[in-house]
């Protein structure tokens, strides 16, 4: 547990991706089985203990700390596990911290009612750093600035040429912690694990933002265009071994979308956009949000927010791997496959005809429909390449919308911004002259702007409510956002999608900021 805690600590403070991979490789090379495999699972987010959740940390905190002090500390630290790790009394006894394998084994077999004592006893034997690693492990929220992908890069290095990170990703979902056959393969002691029948995730092909200088270089004749839908990217995998719906980040989200899984009555791997579609019309992203991050869904949710997939690529037709074929060929295969299969709740992403880039530019600017973010451009000749490879796919988002709003309230940020006022509520003028809050922004500003805002807020505070400061309505913020929806939660009646601070406008008088009407007119 100590070596694992030390690794997490180093990873957290190490900036460079290369250095992180090196730290991980060194850890995997130096630690024994099964500890290293369990650590790998923890970092990749594959280790979950059904009974140990945030409630456990809360219970421990409640048993050992003053609730008021805990709440104030949590507000400052911004992370539940770290708050408990820091506030916990330091070790006084002589008990040694537990080993990683012991922790995993004990968590799997200990009844829920005995967990608080078990974990509390471990914490008593640890220093603050190990306490934090332990709590993060127990609740499955490591977030150490390393991901499964980074770990697989480290494993590829460990294999000394036997496997690439992509090779490892292809077998990954057929394996389970502590990954003994994987390490055996990577170290040349065993065969490649065979994923053949397992419904594994295939690393997706990602797009780059289209830069202005790219536009002149692109040949419209060699390019295909599609709408960029405002849903979430998914991979549909159906094999003899089962059906899975994966998010772009390889997370298995099948349980949240049973109607899609039920419709996957075929064999193949497809790439597409998950959307909520009613009567053929794509609903705003907010509707899809109702369906995300759920372990199960009820009948009402299924009826109110019906999901669908807009398909744009065919990676495997049955067991045949199409990824090396050019886009145009895959597209033809996709259309043929679709005509043959006709899966429910799915359609094909339409190709947009054009001959000049200018036409596309006009289409993109006109793309104000609720569920279109812009355009996707793909080279007709490109194979399906894992990762974000330059020069094949581009996303060309429409320009964001913007308003000039007035800063109204500020709140201390959580975590790394906990020392400064970094959460901002801004408002627009109503016709009766009242300023009404329309949204909150947490990012979009530079460190220099943050420092300016922080000082400005301290100097213009008119009222304090706990961690919140009300400020003089005197500072104009240029807010960029991607859309507007009606909202009953806000006094203004509107909610912004993805608001961020585009610019500070200390030069602009607050009275000249925008009116609420401007937003109301943008509601689709």
């Amino acid at each position: 547990m100590i070596a694992f805690a030390a690794l997490l600590e180093r990873l957290l403070f190490t900036q460079g991706r290369r250095d992180k991979v090196r730290l991980l490789r060194r850890f995997f090379a130096s630690q024994p089985d099964p500890d290293r495999g369990l650590a790998l699972a923890a970092i990749a987010g594959e280790l979950r203990f059904a009974s140990a959740k945030a409630w456990l940390i809360r219970d421990l905190a409640a048993a050992r700390t003053d609730p008021v002090l805990f709440a104030l500390s949590y507000d400052f630290v911004g992370d539940l596990a770290e708050t408990v790790a820091l506030i916990w009394p330091d070790a006084t006894g002589t008990a040694a911290p537990p080993g990683l394998a012991d922790v995993v084994a004990a968590l799997e077999h200990t009844p829920k009612s005995l967990l608080p004592d078990l974990v509390g006893g471990w914490l008593d034997a640890c220093d603050a750093g190990t306490r934090l690693a332990l709590l993060k492990l127990v609740t499955g929220g490591l977030r150490v600035g390393a991901t499964g992908r980074l770990a697989r890069l480290a494993l590829a290095e460990l294999s000394e040429g036997r496997a690439s990170a992509g090779d490892i990703e292809e077998v990954w979902h057929s394996l389970a912690p502590p990954y003994l056959p994987l390490f055996a393969w990577l170290e040349g002691r065993g065969p490649r694990p065979d994923p053949a029948e397992a419904p594994v995730f295939r690393p997706p092909m990602l797009a780059h933002p289209l830069e202005p200088e790219d536009i002149a270089r692109l040949d419209p004749a060699a390019l295909r265009a599609e709408w960029k839908w405002d849903g979430i990217r998914v991979q549909l995998v159906a094999t003899a071994g089962g059906r899975r719906l994966y998010s772009r980040g390889a997370e298995d989200i099948s349980a949240a979308f049973p109607e899609i899984v039920a419709a996957m009555d075929f064999r193949g791997v497809l790439d597409g956009e998950l959307l909520v579609v009613r009567d053929g019309t794509v609903a705003p992203f907010a509707d899809l949000q109702q369906r995300l991050n759920r372990k199960s869904v009820g009948a009402k949710l299924l009826a109110d927010f019906p999901a669908a997939v807009r398909l744009y690529d065919l990676l495997f037709d049955g067991a045949e791997d199409l990824r090396a074929l050019p886009f145009d060929t895959r597209r033809a295969r996709l259309e043929a496959w679709f005509a043959r299969t006709r899966p429910a709740r799915m359609d094909i992403s339409e190709l947009i005809g054009f001959t000049m880039m200018e036409e596309l530019a006009a289409l993109r600017d006109g793309a104000r429909a609720a569920a279109v973010e812009g355009l996707m451009l793909k080279q007709a000749a490109s194979p399906y390449l894992p990762g974000r490879v330059k020069g094949h796919w581009w996303k060309w988002k429409r320009d964001p919308l913007g308003v000039d709003a007035v800063l109204m309230y500020a709140q201390r940020g959580h975590g790394k911004r906990s020392g400064s006022y970094s959460d901002y509520t801004f408002g627009l003028w109503r016709d009766d002259g009242e300023l009404v809050p329309v949204g909150k922004a947490y990012f979009g500003f530079t460190d220099r702007e943050l420092a300016f805002l922080d000082r400005w807020i301290r100097d213009h505070t008119t009222n304090r409510f706990g961690p919140v400061r009300e400020v003089e309505p005197a500072l104009v913020l240029e807010i960029a956002f991607d859309g507007v929806q009606r909202s009953t939660r806000h006094k203004s009646g509107v909610a912004l999608r993805f608001p961020r601070i585009a610019r500070l406008r200390p030069d602009k008088p607050a009275a000249e900021a925008d009116r609420l009407d401007v937003l109301l007119q943008l509601i689709p």
Binding site: L12, F13, F76, L86, S418
Partner: protein, 338 residues
């Protein structure tokens, strides 16, 4: 007749804490006629006052920071425990253990005593006189680290981690972010005590305060300017720089720098990650949670007033021991070192 409650004669005003019967402000945040200054940090010692009363070292540091005129038209130095009558109050200073010259101000009026502690700490510091608890009726305290998550480890152990990293990465320059007044000199003294005899390299902004410390009799060993030194000369060395400099181009000119930061905030990871810190060192010149509570118990005041910081938690905690707490919410403090 019972003594008037201190809240009738010592009041928080926009300019700072004002004592009417003495006609004076303590650590005023704007220029006033008569000021008593606890210590020379920029949020407590502001330029342009008329008469300024402080410890001799604080006055010397103020003159170095803001010039002879800026430090006050009339400057009066007061030794520890020297009693002075001003208007209807009697006033004296006791060491606060925060930085060189840092003082607590004891104000007595009609039988009651208030102690304004400024910023303070209880950890040992070879560069300044140690905090002395003074019994009082009202103890005015800071609460920069007024949350139970803040527990500063022994500074010597943190210095040990720095020296350990120097042994692990002998080819790299260790650049430590630290505030120019107090933290810098304490780090140097701690390094010397740990046996680091090599020259220590300073960013230009840190040199003037070091000179005042040396003039006041605090030996710092060999210090060299880091701005003009050749990159090669800094391999395996310790460079001290203001926090703002460690993340910018200045630090990148050094040989594969290991960016370190010495501050009590480093206890919280997300804070430590700010600005690309690779080696956080939890070294603070402010009292941690334990020190704040211990000090309040030692001075035995039935009432505390909290100037700035996490006042809510501290007031809640002392209430459990029957001590009444009051948040002054003075604006303008705590935007300096920690």
């Amino acid at each position: 007749m019972s003594a008037p409650h201190p809240e009738t004669w010592l009041t928080p005003q926009p300019g700072g804490l004002f004592c009417a019967p003495g006609g004076l402000f303590i650590d005023p945040v704007r220029a006033v006629e008569r000021a008593v200054i606890t210590h020379a940090h920029s949020d407590h010692a502001r330029p342009g006052h008329g008469a300024v009363l402080a410890s001799a070292a604080t006055l010397a540091l103020m003159r170095a920071r803001m010039g002879e005129v800026g430090a006050g038209r009339v400057q009066q130095a007061l030794g520890w425990g020297e009693r002075l009558r001003i208007g209807e109050v009697t006033l004296w200073l006791a060491p606060a253990g925060h930085v060189l010259g840092s003082a607590q101000v004891a104000v007595e009026y009609r039988g009651s005593r208030v102690v304004v502690s400024g910023d303070y700490k209880r950890q040992a510091d070879p560069t300044c006189d140690a905090f002395v608890p003074v019994a009082c009726d009202v103890f005015v305290t800071e609460a920069t680290f007024g949350l139970p998550v803040f527990r500063h480890p022994p500074a010597e152990a943190e210095i040990g981690r720095l020296l350990d990293s120097l042994r692990t990465f002998p080819e790299r320059t260790h650049v430590v972010g630290c505030y120019s007044l107090g933290k810098t000199q304490r780090l140097i003294a701690l390094l010397r005590a740990a046996g680091w005899d090599a020259p220590i390299f300073l960013h230009g902004a840190l040199a003037p305060m070091c000179a005042v410390y040396e003039a006041c009799g605090v030996a710092l060993g060999e210090l060299r300017p880091a701005t003009v030194a050749a990159k090669a000369e800094l391999v395996g060395r310790i460079v001290l720089a203001p926090p703002a400099a460690i993340a910018d181009r200045w630090a990148r000119r050094l040989a594969e720098p290991v960016v370190c930061m010495a501050s009590g905030w480093m206890r919280v990871r997300q804070r430590a990650r700010q600005g690309g810190v690779e080696l956080p060192l939890v070294i603070s010149d402010h009292a941690d949670w334990g020190e704040l509570n211990r000090t309040i118990d030692e001075v035995g005041a039935p009432e505390i007033w909290v100037t700035h910081g996490s006042e809510e938690a501290l007031i809640h905690e002392v209430a459990k021991r029957g001590v009444r707490g009051r948040a002054l919410r003075l604006i303008g403090y705590g935007e300096e070192e920690a």
